[in-house]
């Protein structure tokens, strides 16, 4: 057994501990404390408050949640959304209500049964234990055990906690608070922790694969056959083992999430955890499409827990829509409209069913008895509770665009009529979410998968087992995309409040593999933006501590990275663009400066809200940068294949042009281009992701080259030039084409003695047919049909292939297809693309040459002529050490070519000499004939 689980247990314990300790601090509105300055003003705006009823409310979110427990426990369902809306009326979706009912029921049962409690026949022992001890009595003695509680009030007070009406106006005792905290903690652990665990395992394992993981089944002995790779693989794999704990720590100690859920008191982690679970299931590859459906059910649940999950919904919708079109693994029939429709309707049905199950009770409970028994009013009431449009465009001081724009110089609220504001918000939000959604749609369809194998020759030379790479590209893209859309919502939508920032934070905190510095940046900024709220909650100490703990963890990881990894320096050199280094630093300085100002100066009398406004202004700027960052990251992860998509599917091209006609898109593009350089810096991983860096640089190169030729995507002049370069065997053939023995040639007709090589024509002919890419298009279509190119999971993208073997651009289709067919069936007739995947340049050979090399030459030279043995050897080597296998194959093919060319040359020489002899003889004969003729003539004359 490995001791690693112990480490994970320790880390999870630490995360729980952090939550418990934050839980000791005051919750929102404890003792009806409403902030240092507004002792007597009405409670501050809260998501769960309704605007009309500011007067006569007590406390904050804690009281709201407790009140909901009380309502849901004691009232029939039909009254849940109607009961006394003035006092913290229920305005979260049904799942929250059910959740509240569950915990309220437990508390109620524990409390009410406690009075008559005699023996221990309860199912819920642990719950009782929470309340089993009363408060500390005044011992008075120096020995603390004298204070040992014998109080019987504990469990009874749990019953009081959820007692209807009597508990109103802030029932706050220690046992009740502890119980409420415990409900958050248990929900958190059950939903969020598990989701994070699953995702982290997935993401960390991808790292292992990409860096040449040794976890799975490749014994060290076989890895050692290639010297160049031993060290990278071993050192990186050990690093990988260290990454999972780190990822876990970062994801679980997110200060903002901990502070809001366990300090301020909310159940965000339930909805966030459900969303993460849904992301996990959606992105699993599954031809039968069951797992995306499960994922959609999870997402519907998340949506039903908290309506704010709508921020993620566009991303999820776009991705799933794309998935409906996906050409999945093992699905060779191609995608038909029928299949797409079936998938789509299945998704729709399950989501609708989930919703129906959760919402039906509210419709079935008749408010005023109808004949049908179906009560639409109930649903409408729930909906109006959920989406209170009358509350204004934003609440308090939120760091979003509208709030920033409503400050004095802009004062947007005065310029746009209030009826238009929702519309403006809608338009703005749509404009902001469309780019990530579009990218996600493409990702879902499977044509934007990141070809992590597309990096130059490195991959073809690497000895690592070629695994289906990029199998986590989907999840990473979805995480980025959902972060992006939710940030867009946060920035631009209607009715936003500060806690909305948790929604992008949850996916972003999972992306430590991709962009550690960006994750840290965003986490800190998000936490910082909550400061005004936390001041009101008296959580400033907890804020400082949580933030410091998070930063220290990051610092320790950094120290570790700099000590253990020798690649760190390379990474730094790459990301050493000046602006990128200073952009985060600049924001740190800004943040610290604002904190210092807040600490040292009190705002002037005429501007009492100076600091919250400053907070929202600066926060808006920083979040805009973060939004652009997420967008940029998505583009970066997918850019290299965009052009490929264009060529493959002309329809897609048209769509792009149509969407890009939207002016907003162009504006965004300009912004993006101008900001991309800036963001690159903290997107670039600081710890040991040199692989990603390489990919990124490659992508950038590719993108740059591709932008030069607008019309034909990636077929650039450069590529054409490279394609013109003759192949080795072509060069040889050309050489052979020159006559070996030029003995003859006195007359013009002797030139026919030389053997002409037809192949040379490709080189010489400047055919417009292939430079425009039409030839390649046909070839690609064929290869795609054979299942070589467009297979989404294997990342054998056309770009990749052409980068390695540009000559394919001008090869006749039939020749390439022949070669491909041969290669596909090569080792033991297995129908696999492994060989081509290893080295696409093999496609440039003639099928005939390949066959000879692989089936004659190689077995003859190395396996005593045993063909099957050779093929088997190649097959096993392909699994163990592809580089070695490829080397063997190459050796065979090249050797075969060599051998044949030599023999051909010899043959030619022989033929040529024969012809020459023939020619000589013929000439002699001719002259003899002539002579004879003459002679004969003479003879005839004489004869």
């Amino acid at each position: 057994m490995s001791p690693l689980p112990l480490l994970h247990a320790s880390i999870i314990s630490f995360a729980i501990l952090l939550r418990i300790m934050v839980g000791y601090h005051p919750h929102s509105g404890q003792d009806d404390y409403q902030g240092p300055t507004r002792q007597d003003s009405p409670p501050r705006d809260d998501p769960s408050s309704s605007s009309a009823s500011r007067v006569g409310k007590y406390g904050g979110d804690y009281e709201a949640q407790r009140h909901w427990m009380e309502i849901t426990t004691h009232l029939p369902m039909s009254e849940w959304y109607y009961h006394d809306l003035e006092y913290w009326g229920l305005d979260y979706p049904p799942l929250t209500a059910y959740h509240g009912r569950l915990f309220g029921w437990i508390a109620h049962a524990a409390g009410s049964s406690y009075g008559s409690f005699v023996g221990g026949n309860d199912d819920d022992a642990s719950m009782r234990a929470r309340g089993g001890r009363g408060e500390e009595e005044c011992g008075g003695g120096g020995l603390n055990h004298a204070c040992r509680a014998s109080g019987n009030g504990g469990l009874a007070s749990l019953g009081d906690l959820v007692a209807l009406h009597t508990s109103r106006w802030g029932y706050e005792d220690t046992v009740g608070k502890m119980y409420m905290r415990f409900t958050v903690l248990i929900s958190d652990v059950l939903v969020y922790f598990t989701a994070v665990w699953v995702l982290v395992s997935r993401l960390a394992s991808e790292e292992a694969y990409e860096d040449g993981g040794m976890e799975e089944g490749v014994p060290p002995d076989e890895r050692r056959d290639d010297d160049a790779n031993v060290r990278t693989s071993s050192s990186s794999s050990t690093r990988v083992m260290g990454r999972r704990p780190h990822l876990l720590l970062v994801a679980l100690c997110q200060p903002a999430i901990v502070l809001i859920d366990h300090g301020h008191f909310q159940y965000n982690t339930v909805s966030l955890g459900l969303a993460l679970w849904s992301f996990h299931y959606m992105t699993l590859a599954d031809p039968s499409f069951v797992r995306p459906i499960v994922g959609s059910v999870f997402f519907a649940l998340a949506l039903n827990f908290k309506q704010m999950e709508l921020y993620h919904a566009p991303a999820v919708f776009a991705y799933l829509l794309g998935r409906c079109f996906r050409h999945d693994d093992g699905d060779r029939r191609g995608i038909t409209l029928g299949r797409t429709l079936a998938r789509f309707s299945a998704l729709g049905m399950t989501v609708a069913l989930t919703f129906a199950t959760l919402w039906l009770p509210f419709a079935m409970y008749p408010g005023n008895d109808d004949a049908t028994g179906f009560n639409v009013d109930g649903l409408v009431q729930v909906l109006t509770r959920l989406f209170p449009f009358q509350r204004g465009i934003f609440e308090g001081k939120v760091a979003n665009i509208w709030c920033a724009m409503s400050v004095r110089p802009f004062s947007i609220r005065d310029r746009i009529p209030p009826t238009l504001l929702p519309l403006a918000a809608l338009v703005m939000t749509l404009a902001l979410i469309s780019p990530p959604c579009w990218i996600l749609f493409r990702v879902g369809r499977g044509d934007l998968l990141d070809p992590s194998g597309a990096d130059d020759e490195m991959s073809s030379r690497s000895s690592q087992p070629r695994r289906p790479k990029g199998r986590n590209d989907d999840i990473i893209a979805l995480l980025w995309g959902s972060a992006s859309t939710s940030l867009a919502f946060f920035l631009a939508s209607y009715q936003v409040h500060e806690k909305g920032i948790l929604i992008p934070l949850a996916p972003i905190s999972m992306l430590m593999v991709d962009a550690p510095r960006f994750v840290v940046y965003f986490s800190v900024v998000a936490t910082w933006s909550l400061w005004p709220l936390l001041v009101i909650d008296r959580l400033t100490d907890a804020y400082v501590c949580c933030l410091l703990i998070f930063l220290c963890i990051d610092g320790m990881a950094r120290i570790e990275a700099s000590e253990s990894s020798s690649y760190e320096k390379e990474v730094d050199i790459f990301s050493d663009v000046y602006i990128t280094r200073y952009a985060p630093t600049f924001s740190w300085i800004l943040i610290i400066l604002l904190h210092l100002l807040d600490l040292m100066f009190s705002p002037p009398h005429n501007l009492p809200d100076l600091f919250p406004v400053l907070w929202s202004l600066v926060g808006c700027g920083l979040f805009c940068v973060a939004y652009l960052g997420t967008l940029w990251a998505m583009v970066k992860r997918t850019s290299s294949n965009k052009c490929q998509g264009k060529i493959q599917q002309p329809r897609a091209k048209r769509k792009i042009s149509s969407t890009s006609s939207i002016p907003v898109m162009s504006i965004l593009g300009v912004l993006l281009v101008s900001c991309s350089r800036e963001i690159e810096g903290f997107l670039s991983p600081s710890t040991c992701c040199q692989k990603n860096i390489r990919i990124v640089s490659h992508h950038i190169k590719l993108r740059e080259s591709s932008t030069r030729h607008d019309i034909d995507g990636f077929i650039t002049q450069d590529l054409v030039n490279r394609a013109l370069r003759p192949l080795e065997w072509e060069r040889r053939n050309a050489r052979e084409a020159e006559p070996v023995l030029n003995l003859s040639a006195r007359d013009s007709d002797t030139s026919s003695l030389a053997v002409r090589a037809d192949e040379v024509k490709y080189l010489m002919k400047d055919d417009t047919n292939w430079t425009s890419g039409h030839l390649w298009q046909v070839t690609e279509q064929h290869l795609t049909d054979m299942g070589i190119l467009s297979r989404s999971e294997t990342t054998l993208s056309p770009v990749h292939v052409l980068t390695i073997a540009p000559q394919l651009l001008r090869m006749p289709t039939s020749q390439v297809v022949d070669a491909a067919r041969l290669l596909m069936s090569y080792p033991c007739g297995a129908n696999s693309t492994a060989v081509i995947e290893g080295d696409p340049s093999l496609l440039t050979y003639l099928a005939d040459d390949l066959q000879y090399g692989l089936e004659e030459y190689l077995p003859n030279m190395m396996f005593l002529g045993n063909r099957t043995h050779a093929a088997q050897m190649i097959q096993t080597q392909l699994k163990l050490s592809p580089a070695f296998a490829l080397r063997l194959i190459k050796m065979g093919v090249d050797g075969g070519l060599e051998e044949r060319s030599v023999s051909r040359a010899l043959g030619n020489a022989g033929k040529a000499s024969g012809k020459a002899v023939e020619g000589v003889v013929g000439e002699m004969g001719r002259s003899l004939m002539e002579w004879k003729r003459k002679k004969g003539g003479k003879g005839s004359l004489g004869g």
């Binding site: 690693l4 603390n144 704990p245 907890a542 120290i559």
Partner: protein, 727 residues
């Protein structure tokens, strides 16, 4: 003996030399603890710049580094450089006998591969050593990572400010008020009605510490700015029932003193001790795990619970103890290097260094004694160790007259016949002077009062309240807990037993049972017996041997002895508190990464000792906190130790630190915790039955475990560090 040597390969790799001492392969002492030493050496390879060339076994097999492990001198010695040659000429036998390792730097490319395998154990583990987040990379403790660790822990402690605080909080608050407002002559007399429970019962230096907390610029500035209310520093009434709870600022201030004064001292002590451990001894392998040592020292959950929830200043006291130990270890390290060079005349500079370290150590310890008299049981150890080690000088004797004159000779060995030990008064006097000054200095202000005798009597009465009974009302998990438990069981059995046994026997038994409570004097005697033959005697001997013999490690021995003496006083002491186990656990942390045996002992001591502290936080709010803290920390420590002592026996079997016994005891403890905190309050508390049953179970279970740990610590002290030195 074993050595590793790697020459530079390429520009960016350093030379790496590791040497390692193995115990002599005598059957009696054959425990395979050195295997973990080898592993820690491998660890060091791993953390060097060589690591980027592959895992350790790859390095080994690819032949970049040479590993030579010999049971006897290799035949090729002539090919090696001078260091080994010199050894091989005259001192071959000795080198092999005492197992001192030789570091041999081979010429580059020169490899020595000898497949030496001790019976039953491999040298090199087959699996690559697990590289993890915490352990490998910051393997050597850098100030930066230490600072980050400290920052994290400080934040954790600050988060605990609003949590539960015991009456000790009020006690310390009252002391602060007392020293602030009351005249010095009345500090120990302040008990107006004779009813207050917050009387000052720590030695004077601690009282001055409280005085300093109340009267310093920072505090007065806080008071001036209105940040701290004056009420916080007022004396408490006798009964707190009607007293309003202290303000938030007051709580923060008091907690802040623990965090920012006490824990900084503890942090400094931990850092110094860890650094001293890494310089300790001849094998540089300790360094591999110094980060672990540091982290597990400063993050000890017992201290977090005691100091930052329950409220006490243990961290500060233990920090001072650690500083003292670190000075002692440094002194020992100086000496061992000087003695191994075996030219006493040339090492005068080192000797003075050594003297300074040891004087410093004695002074710190004397100061510690003046702060808290709990550490009195360590005093004999210090006394005799320093007497044996510090007060003797090595004299190189030309004629025998000196031998006759010196009052105590020790003829150490036939090899060092020319070196004699002579008692030196000039050494003793400064030592005694410094120690006495540090110890009695704080008492002086009380002695110059009107009635010095009365003052001293009152102080002593406060310090040693013998009226309190044999055990604390929550039994600390020691021998007396077992004694009382047996007594109670016997009473119960006797009462319930029918008239089967004849009247006379029953009468006799009734006379003996319940067992009589031993008087304090008897307990003091027992304690002395517990300490004397093992700890003190050994300290005396080791202290003197270490001067002339190239001992394995007097510093290491000293820590072992500290652990053992603390355990003994915990086990046999009068009115012991459960927190006293921290005095044993903290020094033991320094040794935990040395050998697998030590690691196992450490885990068990922590397991039982810290569990005994858990009932201090009895509120339901802290239940989850203490359980998570305990479990999380234990998991982390076990993981770290398993990783440090990782080795493969072969195949899939692996020698682990954790044994089945440990897992079984964890299960038992878990059951005890569930009973104590969940079942008992639900079922028994309402009916008022068996109120103290959970505490009884806890202390008895922990006592059984800790008694085993006590004996094991004795065994390890004797066999682990002394016997090696004995030859």
């Amino acid at each position: 003996m074993i050595y590793f040597s790697m020459g530079p390969l390429g520009a960016d790799s350093e030379e790496l030399h590791i040497q390692l001492t193995l115990p002599p392969m005598k059957p009696r002492f054959r425990d395979f603890s050195y295997i973990s030493d080898i592993n820690s050496c491998l660890y060091r390879i791993k953390s060097s710049s060589w690591a980027k060339f592959g895992t350790v076994d790859e390095l080994l097999t690819r032949g970049i580094c040479g590993v030579g492990a010999f049971e006897e001198a290799p035949a090729r010695r002539s090919a090696t450089p001078q260091g080994l040659e010199a050894r091989s000429n005259g001192e071959k036998s000795r080198a092999d006998d005492d197992g001192t390792a030789q570091m041999v730097k081979l010429d580059d490319g020169e490899m020595m591969m000898t497949n030496w395998r001790p019976a039953g154990g491999p040298v090199v583990s087959n699996t690559p050593i697990v590289n993890t987040f915490f352990l490998t990379s910051p393997s050597s403790l850098s100030p930066k990572s230490a600072l980050l660790t400290f920052l994290i822990l400080t934040c954790v402690k600050w988060l605990l400010v609003p949590s539960y605080r015991s009456t000790d909080f009020d006690v310390h608050r009252n002391w602060l008020a007392l020293t602030r407002h009351v005249d010095l002559s009345n500090w120990y007399f302040d008990d107006i009605n004779g009813t207050t429970v917050h009387t000052l019962d720590y030695p004077p230096l601690f009282a001055f510490f409280e005085y300093a907390l109340g009267n310093n610029p920072v505090t007065s500035r806080m008071l001036d700015n209105g940040w701290l209310d004056e009420r916080c520093l007022e004396s408490l009434p006798d009964s707190l029932c009607n007293d309003p709870p202290p303000s938030d600022e007051c709580v923060k201030f008091q907690r802040g003193t623990v965090i920012f004064v006490g824990d900084v001292i503890f942090f400094v002590g931990s850092y110094l001790a860890t650094k001293a451990m890494s310089t300790l001894g001849e094998d540089g392998c300790e360094r591999a795990s110094s980060y672990f040592t540091f982290v597990s020292l400063v993050s000890n959950p017992g201290l977090i619970m005691l100091d930052h929830v329950h409220f006490q200043y243990n961290g500060m006291l233990l920090g001072v103890l650690l500083i003292s130990i670190s000075c002692m270890v440094r002194g020992a390290a100086e000496a061992s290097s000087s003695s191994s060079s075996s030219s006493s005349s040339s090492s005068s500079l080192q000797t003075t260094d050594r003297r300074r370290w040891e004087l410093l150590s004695a002074a710190t310890f004397a100061g510690l004694l003046a702060m808290k008299h709990l550490y009195l049981t360590l005093a004999p150890l210090y006394l005799f160790y320093l007497l044996g080690r510090h007060c003797f000088v090595v004299v190189t004797v030309e004629d025998t007259r000196d031998v006759n004159n010196s009052n105590d000779n020790y003829k150490s060995d036939e090899r060092t016949t020319s070196e004699l030990l002579r008692f030196s008064w000039s050494r003793l006097l400064p030592l005694a002077g410094v120690s006495l000054l540090c110890f009695s200095g704080p008492f002086v202000p009380f002695l110059i009062q009107l009635n010095p005798g009365g003052q001293m009597r009152q102080i002593l009465k406060r310090l040693f309240p013998f009226g309190r009974g044999l055990v604390h009302d929550y039994w600390a998990a020691n021998v007396w807990a077992l004694y009382l438990f047996v007594s109670k069981i016997a009473t119960l059995v006797l009462r319930k037993a029918p008239m089967i046994m004849s009247g006379s026997i029953r009468g006799c038994l009734e006379y003996v049972i319940p067992f009589p409570e031993p008087p304090p004097r008897l307990i003091a005697l027992l304690l002395l017996i517990g300490l004397w033959p093992s700890g003190i005697n050994m300290a005396w001997k080791v202290g003197r041997w270490s001067l002339t013999k190239p001992l394995c490690n007097p510093g290491k021995f000293f820590i072992h002895a500290t652990v053992f003496c603390s355990m003994s006083s915990f086990m046999l002491g009068y009115h012991v508190h459960e927190k006293a186990i921290m005095t044993a656990i903290v020094p033991m942390t320094l040794l935990a990464s040395n050998t697998r045996h030590m690691a196992r002992l450490f885990i068990r001591t922590c397991m039982f000792g810290l569990f005994g502290i858990l009932p201090l936080l009895f509120r339901a709010e802290e239940l989850l906190f203490k359980a998570t803290l305990y479990i999380g920390w234990m998991c982390g420590v076990i993981f770290a130790l398993e990783t440090i002592h990782l080795d493969n026996v072969g195949g899939n079997r692996r020698r682990t630190v954790l044994t089945t016994v440990d897992i079984a005891s964890f299960v038992i403890l878990a059951c005890a915790l569930i009973f104590m905190d969940i079942v008992h309050p639900l079922i028994f508390v309402p009916s008022g039955m068996l109120e103290f049953l959970p505490l009884l179970i806890t202390s008895v279970v922990c006592a059984v475990g800790l008694v085993w740990c006590w004996l094991e610590s004795y065994r390890l002290m004797i066999f682990g560090s002394v016997r090696i030195a004995w030859r």
